[in-house]
Amino acid sequence: MMSKFLRMCVFLAVAGSLALSGGCRSKNANDADLYGSDNLYGDPLMGDVPLADVDGLPADGDRSVVDPVYFAYDSSTVNSEEAGKVEEVANLLNKNKWQGVIVEGHTDERGSREYNLALGERRSLAVRDYLISLGVDPSKIQTKSYGEELPDNMGHDESAWRKNRRAVFAMY
């Protein structure tokens, strides 16, 4: 538990330093100026690693290898309790047990379908950033958002929503 927490701290520090390096400092100051710094949900600063071309890569994979990562409402932060699943995937990819992974981001049904499509992608990307911080080659990671379109649980209460706010690992 403690080690996961520490690793999460390292991840956040790495993500932050990635963003601050390479002349991004003024951009970040600009962002704070534009949007205020009242980030209520503490979503992570994204690492800003451009996506690799996916043409020719598999479009589907095995979803039974590692359990999904679950998220808080309207958040794309990988919680310390969920971080172990991402570390497991990183381990499998770094040991070349699998060629790559498609991280499929999902949301619950609240909020607009369009906003949720972006939120699902951000969840995929938060997991991707964490994988990259654990040494995974970015070209092994595809992201795909389904927004609220493919719920795991068809219910309409918090217990269903909790299961639907997830990032699924499709390994190939």
Partner: protein
Amino acid sequence: MIRRFFVGSAMMVAASSLAQRAVVEREGSGKISINLAAFRTGGDTASRGFLSVLKADLNRSGYFKVTSSGAALNVVGKVQAGSQMKADVQVYKAATRQRMMGKSYDASAKAYRTLAHKVADEIVYAVTGKRGMASAKIAMVGTRSGRKELYICDADGKGMRQITNDRSIIVAPRWTPDGKNITYTSYKYRNSPCVFMTGRGQPVSKQPGLNAMGTVSPDGKTMAIILSLSGNPELWLISVRSGKPIRRLTKTQRGNEASPCWSPDGNHIAYVSDSSGRPHVYIISKNGGRAKRISSSGTENLSPDWGKNGYITWCSRVGGKYRIVVASPTSRTSRVLETDWADYEDPRWAPDGRHIICSRTSGYRSAIYLLDTLKDSPVALVSGSGDWYSPAVSP
């Protein structure tokens, strides 16, 4: 910070309810009575169908009340149909016998609904000088087939037809500005969200990651779109012809962007961003630069649509319910439309600049509704046989 926010929103609600009352008294009250009793129809079903669609359209326009006696306006003339339909329509002021409109129409008898919509819009224009909405088409996502496919119907909710049969998922349909095609997000290529346009086999945008919510500019050349190409969902402009990125407009490493729509002059884009911690509506120049936040109250502000009337409508979560907001980006005033306890989402301006078409969800079922920004009660346009949502109204 939070305290000031709530005080501000309470004042805004008070101001907006005052503004609403003023608008209703000025424009909404007193419909023009219109009498079609002297309009003659042939015995055929197309002719009688024409008349009933025309009457319903005039009532729905918001400007008229169809009566059978003592009206301010009389519609006279006749309609007859074999395989071809011929209609003569004249509109007179009852008091002065002044002719306000006189026209003859020819159409295929099968197209009697389309002809009735056209005549209704021409009567609205002749009498009020304003554009009608009866000829508009509504695109939407429907689940009738068990999948999420694209459908189109008339502005009265009739004439429904299925446009796609992709057996995939469709999100965020939008009309192209010429009203001839629809852009939409689908998973039919590589099971990945890509942006398509009707009439084109290949995706318009198929970058790695998210390609979604593509919306074509008024000049038809540029598409505003959400791409995650850079490692985070951001607002981009791409070429409609080649699909190649032109410019990234946002750089918000702590947030998502969503739901772009163009200003009527094509110089600005309104969109949703949650980079302040909650989703709000912003406006940015097509050249990039500083974004301006225009929503202040509500815990979520989503899905804007910028009407040709200059007003932006969006969906705001107020008191735990999704409601429809109408705002002026220039005077920075806004009001929340009066609606019942259901959730109203994805508002889209009708071409008359008066009505809004949106989805209404209650008991986890969604239907397409017509809202009047002036006075009339909400009207169900499409409901039953599955869910109907994400409407887009043709220009």
